[in-house]
């Protein structure tokens, strides 16, 4: 194995053997990766690009090897950015990343013919390669068969079978991966030309493989779910249930957490005297807690998305929506990216890497921030639960859920139109093919679902502990450092209120009133808008802090009680509507701007997005205020 020696220097630095896991989407690659590496996987980015690179250690015979999970791909002739990464990584052309010492191709047993076409390309790279066949149980259930030993001889490389989600065959895979230097290598690599490549696959499979029968169950389900009438009805019902669940199922948990944080805050202020108690009680607990209470809702959102994806429904949703998305210069996968953006625009934007066409990809990325992300949810939930009366409309549908759905719909429709306008006037370039696979319906394992949900929820918790904690502290300081001293003869509450108004934040908020007063935003709202630039949820935190001096009531009650100097309500229906609409449109999220910059590799698109969405937000909020004012 002389050729391994020069490469070994690169690997020795990391101390381990690098094995790359490749395969087509839905082949069970990630399930296998998780099963092999347990929870020791870590996600990082490739240098320069933001394609996530999942790496994990596999422990075999007392040593560790590094397993790299590459994005799913159908071929080495990349047509999407995701595929380009795979192609470059395997050829060792990715700067800063070592060429793998070995490649493990993961193939779904029921679509083995196609996977071997890809295998043929991999074998021409002249890196030790093995084949891991997954879902052999599904193959058997559908009447197919596969002789792994015969296939190994025909291919000239080692072959093992696994049932990843049940953990069958994992030990054999571990042992195999540990010793790539012992793997058999084919005498002659298969031909590149497509006819001969296809003939090679047929000859390799001839005596080893009997393809499965048609997947009757999946086709029966699809006969309903893709049906022109039933399919569309189910689609609408799934989307409605999705939003209704987020709002109603999580509500009791949110209330529970809210009162827990309130008690903790009071406890701290009672037992630690002076400014430290205030800082911990109001700055830390009330600030961070005001956002953390939405954890159940956000976890639920990630949970539902994960289940829909793993069952196979998201691919159907993409199929159903493709034509409609096409009208706006998008495609079916844009729909999935946009749906993910309801959790957070960042994974949504990153998921556009599976979209081969640059033009459609940019259009999708630009529309993603208009989808209502989970960070807006705390703002919407607070204002809706405080200001929209909870009444039954029809069956389980209630006014509050309907109001929330309306905001989501406004964002989604605006996002589509926004993409359409961009596509007409600002985008050029070609359209790569739109080909999507409809995988068989599968029952995901609880573990896989929980793992992915936890990933999403954990990143939210981490944000609460870092960005939101830091901005809470900064805001607390800005709210508590005041200029001048209050006039004589005020009681405690009045003095606190005076101090707040003359604080650093109060002054900033007042300065902004010249711009925002047409929307009905008074200084407290403006401070909260500034705060929300770090993360939208901070809006809630800021309102909690800036109204803390007013009374000890819950935040919604405090908002109702706030009065202007003339005795009118600070938050009337028109102003609340304006705030809601403002949050539907405004791109107040530095992380999203940063991701847009990295993914498009220019400041042009994030600049256009930020400026145009601010204009939309301002004008939209103004219209909302005028309209609501007229009807109430």
């Amino acid at each position: 194995m002389s050729h391994c020696e020069p490469e070994a220097t690169g690997s020795v630095a990391a101390g381990t053997l690098h094995v790359a896991l490749v395969g087509s989407p839905n082949a069970g690659k990630t399930t296998l990766f998780n099963a092999l590496t347990g929870l020791r996987a870590k996600t990082a980015n490739y240098p320069g690009v933001t394609v996530s690179r999942r790496e994990g250690l596999v422990h075999v015979d007392g040593r560790d090897l590094t397993l790299v999970d590459l994005p799913g791909t159908y071929g080495l002739d990349a047509i999407s950015p995701d595929e380009q990464i795979v192609s470059d990584a395997l050829r060792g052309e990715l700067p800063g990343v070592d060429k793998p010492d070995a490649i493990a191709v993961v193939a779904d047993a029921s679509t083995l013919e196609r996977s071997l076409l890809f295998m043929a390309d991999i074998l021409r790279l002249d890196i030790p390669t093995c084949l891991i066949v997954t879902m052999t149980d599904e193959l058997a259930a559908r009447g197919g068969s596969l002789d792994l030993d015969v296939l190994a001889v025909a291919l000239g490389v080692p072959v093992v079978g696994v049932i990843g989600h049940r953990g069958i065959g994992l030990d054999a895979v571990r042992t195999l991966l540990a010793n790539p230097q012992e793997w058999a290598r084919p005498v002659l690599p298969p031909a590149a030309e497509s006819g001969r490549r296809s003939a090679w696959v047929a000859s390799v499979l001839r005596s080893a493989y009997r393809p499965p029968g048609r997947d009757r169950r999946t086709r029966r389900v699809d006969a309903v779910l893709l049906h022109p009438v039933w399919g569309v009805l189910v689609f609408v019902a799934v989307m409605l249930a999705f939003f209704q669940a987020i709002f109603t199922l999580a509500a009791p948990m949110i209330d529970g957490l809210d009162s827990a944080f309130n008690s903790l805050s009071t406890l701290l202020k009672d037992h630690i005297s002076g400014w430290l108690g205030e800082l911990l009680g109001d700055g830390v607990v009330a600030g961070v807690g005001g956002v953390l209470v939405f954890l159940p809702q956000i976890a639920l959102l990630f949970l539902i998305l994960t289940v829909l994806e793993k069952v196979g429904y998201l691919a159907r949703a993409a199929f159903l929506a493709d034509r409609l998305m096409g009208r706006f210069g998008l495609e079916g996968r844009s729909f999935v990216s946009m749906l993910s953006s309801f959790a957070c625009a960042i994974p949504g934007i990153m998921s556009t890497r599976t979209i081969p066409s640059e033009r459609r990809r940019i259009a999708t990325m630009m529309a993603a921030p208009l989808m209502t992300c989970s960070a807006r949810l705390p703002v919407f939930t607070l204002l809706i639960s405080a200001f929209v009366p909870d009444e039954r409309v029809l069956g389980p549908v209630r006014t509050q859920g309907l109001a929330l759905f309306g905001l989501y719909a406004l964002g989604a429709v605006s996002g589509l139109l926004y993409a359409g306008v961009l596509n007409l006037f600002a985008l050029s370039g070609s359209a790569a093919p739109v080909i999507m696979e409809l995988p068989p319906y599968r029952r995901p394992t609880l573990r896989a679902v929980l793992l992915q949900t936890w990933d999403g929820a954990w990143s939210f918790i981490r944000k609460a502990g870092t960005v939101i904690l830091a901005s809470s502290l900064a805001l607390w300081l800005m709210l508590n450092i005041s200029f001048g001293s209050p006039p004589q003869g005020l009681d405690t509450v009045q003095r606190d209120s005076w101090k707040l108004e003359h604080s650093v934040a109060g002054n900033m908020g007042k300065a902004m009133e010249t711009v925002f007063s047409p929307l009905g935003f008074e200084w407290r709202t403006n401070v909260a808008v500034i705060g929300s630039l770090a993360a939208r949820e901070v809006f809630v935190t800021t309102l909690a802090l800036s109204t803390a001096a007013e009374s000890e009531d819950s935040l919604p009650a405090r908002l109702h009680e706030l009065r202007n100097d003339d005795g009118s309500k600070v938050y009337d229906a028109a102003t609340v509507a304006a705030i809601l609409v403002f949050f539907v449109y405004a791109l107040q999220c530095f992380s999203t701007v940063a991701v847009l910059r990295r993914e498009t590799n220019s400041w042009k698109w994030p600049a256009i997005a930020f400026a145009s969405m601010f204009v939309l937000a301002y004008v939209g909020a103004l219209i909302a205020r005028v309209v609501v004012h007229a009807v109430t």
Binding site: Y74, G75, D77, I79, S110, T111, E113, R114, L117, F118, S194, G195, S198, A202, L205, P211, P212, R214, D215, T218, R219, D222, L226, H227, P228, V229, G231, V232, A318, F319, L320, D322, R323, L324, G326, E331, G332, S357, S430, A431, A432, P433, V434, I435, M436, E437, L438
Partner: protein, 89 residues
């Protein structure tokens, strides 16, 4: 070669045999070949989306949704056993 049509024009329910895969301007041909669509492959035209596009095709037991604009690069012969040598299905 009578009866050779673009795949996108094949009726739903038909079993067709690929005669030729054209390159296409945006790498369509190569991608379709990577997915196992080569001369001789049998394709079942399974169903169209409610809005008419894309169409689900069954190719080598995988089900692919392909837009009209991309499926046009696959030239197929409609439904009889003598058109192609491919019998693995």
């Amino acid at each position: 070669m009578t009866g050779v049509i673009p795949l996108c024009d094949a009726p739903v329910g038909a079993v067709v045999t690929v005669v030729e895969v054209l390159a296409g301007p945006h790498g369509q041909g190569r991608r379709l070949e990577d997915l196992g669509i080569v001369a001789g492959t049998e394709i079942l035209v399974e169903r169209r989306a409610p809005l008419g596009d894309p169409t689900v095709y069954e190719v080598r037991r995988a089900r692919l949704a392909v837009r009209r604009g991309d499926a046009q690069f696959v030239r197929v012969a409609v439904g009889d056993e003598n058109t192609g040598p491919y019998v693995a299905l």
